[in-house]
């Protein structure tokens, strides 16, 4: 039996990674997770320069999930390359660097800088609902998404995963657009935009007013979108959104994802990724699958 997956030419030891922004650069989870057990580590979004992020409160609990408006606080690409890449390289896992920016130039600058670094894949976040400029603007318009993909591909030395927003009328159209732009893979879904109001203070719970909804509450929406994207494009899909246990992960794979990312679940169950990696293996044994790829998109 073979747990390996090949995502755009990069071989992961198993199909499990973490969702960007929920795992830092791995250092904080080192005490809870054996990073060698992950197919890949996807880092928190990094920009060309340090970003302060949004004011607090940045998170709120919602029914069956959470909402965040961290606003892509990050130390900037220089410190990232100096500190976080060497840290992750100590482990036997693939490194996916999530990239954010406010303009096409910002993205390209980071991608160009990463070209000479020892990392495995790039994930381009064009779907963050929590920053005013950039991000989501690219992620809600197929033309813009195609253009930024093309621009980034010019500078990229590693395979490029485009990360899509669920806040769109047609995820299939968005997936096709980035495929047309030359994306090597897509990942979805980023968070759904939500809002919470404190009725006693009569004020928004998050300083940013809106935030991105994540966690088990969004899982069925994510599965549907993965299914729709898988039926629209040929490039591999990394599925995420509310994955909390093995069943959720297998569901994503059966819907069409070649690999899965676990996000919010890390916050309430730090060892969840290892359990899911084991769980998928167990599921494959019980159901006589020889390889992960046999399961991908099996339910039509």
């Amino acid at each position: 039996m073979n747990m390996k997956v090949n995502i755009a030419g990069v071989e992961w030891k198993n199909p499990v990674t973490v969702a960007s922004g929920t795992f830092g650069s791995g250092a904080e989870f080192e005490e809870y997770v054996d990073l060698n057990r992950l197919g890949a580590v996807t880092t928190k979004g990094v920009a060309n320069i340090p970003w302060e992020g949004n004011p607090t409160p940045r998170v709120a609990e919602i029914y069956g999930g959470m909402m965040n408006a961290v606003g892509l606080q990050n130390p900037g690409i220089d410190l990232f390359c100096e500190r976080d890449i060497p840290f992750l390289r100590k482990y036997d896992t693939k490194i996916i660097v999530n990239v954010c920016g406010k303009s096409t130039e910002d993205y390209c600058e980071v991608v160009e800088r990463l070209a000479s670094e020892d990392i495995d894949m790039l994930e381009i976040n064009i779907s963050c609902p929590n920053v005013k400029e950039g991000g989501i603007a690219f992620g809600q318009n197929p033309k813009a998404a195609e253009e930024i993909t093309k621009a980034v591909k010019k500078y990229a030395k590693q395979p490029v995963i485009m990360k899509l927003s669920p806040n769109v009328t047609s995820i299939a159209e968005m997936a096709k657009a980035v495929e047309a732009g030359g994306a090597d893979a897509v990942s979805l879904i980023n968070t759904l935009t939500g809002m919470k109001i404190d009725i006693n203070r009569r004020a928004f719970v998050l300083a940013n007013k809106t935030g991105g909804v994540s966690g088990p509450a969004i899982h069925p929406i994510a599965v549907r979108m993965v299914y729709e994207a898988a039926n629209a494009v040929r490039i591999p899909i990394i599925g995420m959104g509310g994955i909390t246990n093995t069943a959720d992960a297998v569901e994503m794979i059966l819907a069409g994802a070649s690999a899965v990312s676990v996000g919010t679940a890390n916050f309430f169950h730090p060892a969840v990724t290892m359990e899911i990696a084991d769980g998928i293996e167990e599921y494959m044994k019980q159901n006589h699958f020889e390889s992960v790829s046999e399961m991908v998109g099996l339910v039509k």
Binding site: G21, T22, F23, G24, E28, F29, E30, E31, Y32, V33, D34, K44, P50, W51, E52, G53, T56, P57, R58, V59, A60, E61, Y63, G64, G65, M66, N68, V70, Q73, N74, P75, G76, L79, G215, P216, T264, N266, F267, F268, H269, P270, A271
Partner: protein
């Protein structure tokens, strides 16, 4: 890979005052806990997934027990669920988390240990463990329900303030300091932000080394998600911006390091 979420077991639970509960839990986290650290407490209800960070009030390392004292913040909240737990019930926790109070620095000094409202409980273990010249515990309450007061009295000089004036000084902890004309070389404080702001200002004016324990909404509790930041004076070495993570770099900060 030496830490994990653990299923703690409730050893006992009692109500200390209106809406204020005290719970002893059996947990490995007790072995390495320090005053000023906290634990993330999780509900058993699948609709409420985020941790409730609660400070450690007392530590019984030998018997692997921790005490937490917490306020039920409303109906249908996680803390309300906790308040219904009984001995033998389980409670998922992660901890101990955060840095804790650097109480070693107090050796030989005249110290204020200041707690306000639901910030009072973490001061208890601090008072128990701290060795210093003069231990002045200043505790501020809403009214005459001065929970933990007897235990404080066994561990230092105690000054009480109450908002309604029913016990001790009418007003807040700073009013108690003023009324009794107290002074100190070092301050450790936990409580609502306005109180901490006043203490920070007082300490900086008088050039007193002052440690304050901050609060913010959390998602991970372990430094990964960047939810719980506060503004730091200097660029933080981790974040490379003027932000520190309360869960990981704190919750206790030197007052001059942070802006509140």
């Amino acid at each position: 890979m030496n830490k994990k979420k653990e299923i703690a077991v409730v050893a006992s639970q009692e109500m200390l005052a209106d809406g204020i509960f005290s719970m002893w839990i059996q947990t490995e986290a007790a072995k390495s806990a320090k005053p000023g650290q906290f634990i993330s407490m999780y509900t058993n209800d699948g609709s409420k997934l985020l941790p409730r960070p609660i400070s450690i009030c007392e530590i019984d390392a030998e018997n692997e027990k921790l005490r937490v004292v917490y306020r039920v913040t409303g109906e249908n909240t996680g803390t309300e669920e906790f308040s219904k737990l009984q001995a033998g019930d389980t409670l998922p926790v992660i901890g101990p988390l955060g840095n804790g109070f650097p109480f070693e620095k107090a050796a030989g000094k005249r110290v204020f240990l200041m707690g306000g409202g639901i910030g009072v409980p973490p001061i208890l273990e601090l008072a128990k463990q701290m060795k210093c010249g003069k231990k002045q515990i200043v505790a501020g309450y809403r009214d005459s329900q001065t929970f933990l007061k007897e235990q404080f009295e066994a561990n230092g000089e105690v000054y009480i303030s109450t908002e309604d004036g029913s016990v001790g000084t009418k007003g807040n902890v700073m009013d108690a300091v003023a009324e009794h004309n107290l002074s100190a070389d070092m301050i450790f404080a936990c409580g609502p932000t306005p109180m901490l702001r006043a203490i920070k200002q007082f300490a900086e004016e008088k050039d007193i080394e002052c440690y304050i324990s901050l609060e913010e909404r959390m998602a991970c509790g372990i430094g990964a998600c960047l939810a719980c930041v506060c503004k730091s004076k200097e660029k933080d070495h981790h974040s490379n911006v003027n932000n520190k993570r309360i869960c990981k770099d704190g919750p206790v900060f030197l007052s001059t390091e942070v802006e509140i």
